[in-house]
């Protein structure tokens, strides 16, 4: 699969920097945002093939951010990263989420899921 660009969104900076570096070692061009507002700004200025979002964030919640992404960038698939017990069949799944990963995230599993949703998206 060709290289792709991912944006990770979570308010835990140390988590983000470590994950971005690890994805870089695996040929994934990744960037991060520490808030919903920062993510919207980065998406306005750059193209991403996939977005990975934490559900619980200060200020704009993951659910609100997903709503904005689905409105402004409907072509970009969203993966949810959450510490909660969660399933894609559950009632609380925000509309637009195509995959989810429980925290702590296994980096290889994250890459597999990113590749899968990008392939499904026809990149």
């Amino acid at each position: 699969m060709s290289k792709f660009r991912a944006l990770l969104v979570d308010d835990e900076k140390e988590l983000m920097t470590a994950m971005v570096e690890r994805l870089g070692y695996r040929d994934v061009e990744a960037d991060y945002a520490l808030s919903g507002a920062e993510a919207i700004e980065k998406m306005r200025n750059s193209d991403f093939d996939v977005i990975v979002i934490d559900l619980k964030m200060p200020g704009m919640s993951g659910t609100e951010l997903i709503g904005i992404i689905k409105r402004d960038h409907p072509q970009v698939p969203v993966i949810l990263m959450t510490g909660h017990g969660f399933s894609l069949d559950g009632e609380d799944v925000p509309e637009g989420v195509v995959e989810f990963l429980p925290k702590p995230v296994n980096i290889e599993e994250l890459i597999e899921k990113m590749q899968k949703v990008i392939r499904t998206n026809g990149l």
Binding site: E12, E14, L15, A18, M19, E21, R22, Y25, K56, M57, P58, G59, S61, G83, H84, K103, P104, V105, I107
Partner: protein, 225 residues
């Protein structure tokens, strides 16, 4: 029809107490999970660096130092969270006992800060460093504070501060929680809060002295026994 309409008051109180305990522990477990996630990624990063390192290309010391610092910081954070959780969990050991109210308020403020942070709101407690021993129910006091904080958070704007002031005299304690508040709030169970406070404080005095003051509780340092 609300299934609780036919319930006895003590059964409703038990359900509310469990819901409160669940909400607090769920919030703490979420934060603890973040700590583990950061340590997990740092260990993964270290493993990645070891794979790519060689005798000719050793891992720079500053890279190792940064990972070590991060793991240490998260371990310290985890210890603080668990200590807070442990203190909270033991607050149900005895329904009524003697305890340091300042310590209880400080611990609960840091637990509730995570909920407030999600709304970009700060909780400030001015409870003093010295002991303020009272004989009462630590669990119910925290429950009352939790509902008050939740109510203030319902109306809070990003950047707001919710203040919890505690002052003690020889015989009496004053707790004041100040935040943005509407007179009508659907999420606020006034009757239940009053009921809780009557149990522990007896002749409790609850008043709002100005529009932003959410609750003002005065009680004797040996109330409830």
């Amino acid at each position: 029809m609300d299934y609780r309409e036919d319930m006895q008051p003590d059964r409703i109180m038990l359900e509310n107490s469990l819901a409160f305990f669940g909400a607090v522990t769920a919030s703490i477990s979420h934060e603890l999970n973040n700590v583990i996630a950061i340590i997990d990624q740092n260990i993964g990063l270290l493993a990645d660096l070891l794979i790519t390192a060689s005798a000719e290309r050793p891992i720079p010391n500053e890279r190792l130092q940064r990972i070590s610092d991060s793991v240490q910081a998260q371990t310290d954070r985890g210890v603080r969270i668990i200590k807070g959780l442990n203190t909270f969990a033991h607050s149900v050991d005895d329904p009524i006992r003697e305890f340091d109210l300042n310590q209880l308020i400080n611990n609960f403020t840091s637990i509730a800060q995570r909920l407030a942070s999600l709304r970009k709101v700060n909780l400030e407690s001015d409870s003093e460093a010295q002991e303020l021993m009272v004989t009462s129910s630590p669990f119910i006091i925290q429950q009352v504070l939790f509902y008050c904080i939740q109510r203030a958070l319902n109306r809070a704007q990003p950047g707001d501060v919710i203040k919890i002031d505690v002052h003690g005299s020889d015989t009496q304690v004053d707790i004041t929680l100040t935040g943005r508040v509407d007179q009508v709030d659907n999420g606020w169970n006034e009757q239940y809060i009053q009921q809780l406070m009557q149990i522990i404080f007896g002749s409790v005095e609850v008043e709002a002295r100005d529009p932003e003051e959410l609750i003002h509780i005065k009680f004797s340092r040996k109330a409830g026994i």
